[in-house]
Amino acid sequence: MNNLALKELLYKMADDQLILGHRNSEWTGFGPLLEEDIAFSSMAQDKVGQSLALYTLLQTLGESDPDTIAFTRNASRFHNCILVELPNQEYDFSLIRHFLFDTAEALRFEALTNSAYEPLAQLARKIRGELRYHTLHANTWMKQLGSATEESITRLQKSLEAAFPYALGIFETSPYEAELIDQKIFAGEAALKEKWLARIESVIHQTQLQLPDWKTLTPVYGGREGKHSEHLQPLLDEMSEVFRIDPTAEW
């Protein structure tokens, strides 16, 4: 098994979960209603938990311990897509990002339940309930707000259009696509993107929202190879602020 290919896959997945988990946790205490605040915060915790599970797999492949990996790398060494590092803006944007990203993530893990790398397959099977909840939560809000009032529909549509080129960046291919597919570790980004578009479209069609004409859009790539927006480093500085005061402290 090609460890470089596997590590690249694990790093980008773990970094996506950690960064979006942190971003979504910024809503804690500010959510639009108490129940939603709790639900969104819980899912943010799930994401950080999933990143820990993936960093732990990386540790078994010879990488540093999860805390060191999560808290001591600079932005250029993170492999998350740019979508997850963008600032929260208003809640409609966070909901759209949640919908677009979590749909992709759920499909990715679904494909990985049959991965030839058994520890990852096991993890994918274990967290399927969490992912089912995340996509159910996202889809239910989409269907509700996507057909509710003129304001809710206009806001979601605007955010959908703004987020879409970044969402396409989730599927930036790795240099190891062919190896991952050959070795049956992962079905590859192209296959994932196709499934994702179909799933996104089926939800959007149940609302008054319009799917952006994605073929005319230029995907925002770069994140997977460490080329990030100006928003990631400040996020990392804040996230690791306490850790850096005393890296050996026991929590």
Binding site: E35, A39, M43, K126, R128, G129, E130, R132, T140, W251
Partner: protein, 201 residues
């Protein structure tokens, strides 16, 4: 008033000298019932605010089953819950309910008992009845053991958003989320250790 602070924009508008009291700008409520363990009866846990029953179910999942064990949950619109009078002391809520039977097309009602004041309503069983009132009568005939019940609820089964068998996997990893419990951080022990170290030095 325009402000970036959402609390400011939520402030009430300055009103005309006399006007009707505005309705509350908030979602309706839904009653949440949780099954803590396989085989245990569902119990009432509280309410959530939501625009519809589907979102109520989604939000109830994290609001009420974030920490403690759960195998299933369901929700019903508060307006679909029929309640008997609330009693005290030795007085049984079933006593004033008439025992006259009604005819008509029957459907299934879920029945809940409040066995102790200040506790939760717990599922007692199901009855077939033509109306909510009739459901109370059927409940009295079937579930009144003479032991004091302080309040009885009846909810039509078809008004409830249940958990589907596939959705039961939502709680698969719940037992591992110890980090959500403050006691898991053993803050007291760590503080004690710290103070002891301080005393020694």
């Amino acid at each position: 008033m325009n402000s970036l602070d959402p609390r400011v924009s939520r402030l009430p508008q300055i009103q005309e000298p006399v006007s009707l009291k505005a309705p509350l700008d908030q979602f309706g409520t839904f009653e949440v019932f949780v099954q803590p363990k396989e085989g245990k009866p569902f119990q009432h846990e509280g309410i959530v605010h939501a625009p519809d029953i589907e979102l109520a179910w989604v939000l109830a999942k994290e609001t009420f089953t974030r920490r403690f064990t759960c195998t299933s949950l369901y929700v019903a619109d508060t307006r679909d819950v029929y309640v008997s009078p609330l009693t005290e002391g030795e007085s049984n809520a079933y006593d004033p309910i008439p025992e006259t039977r009604e005819s008509g097309i029957k459907k299934t009602y879920e029945i809940y008992h409040l066995a102790k004041r200040g506790r939760q309503h717990v599922h007692a069983g199901t009855v077939q009845a033509a109306t909510p009132q009739h459901a109370m009568t059927e409940a009295k005939l079937q579930f009144n053991t003479g032991k004091t019940v302080y309040n009885v609820w009846a909810i039509a089964n078809d008004a409830i958003r249940f958990t589907t068998p596939e959705e039961k996997e939502l709680w698969l990893t719940l037992s591992e989320k110890k980090f959500r419990d403050a006691s898991d951080y053993k803050g007291g022990d760590k503080l004690k250790e710290f103070l002891e170290r301080k005393l020694i030095s």
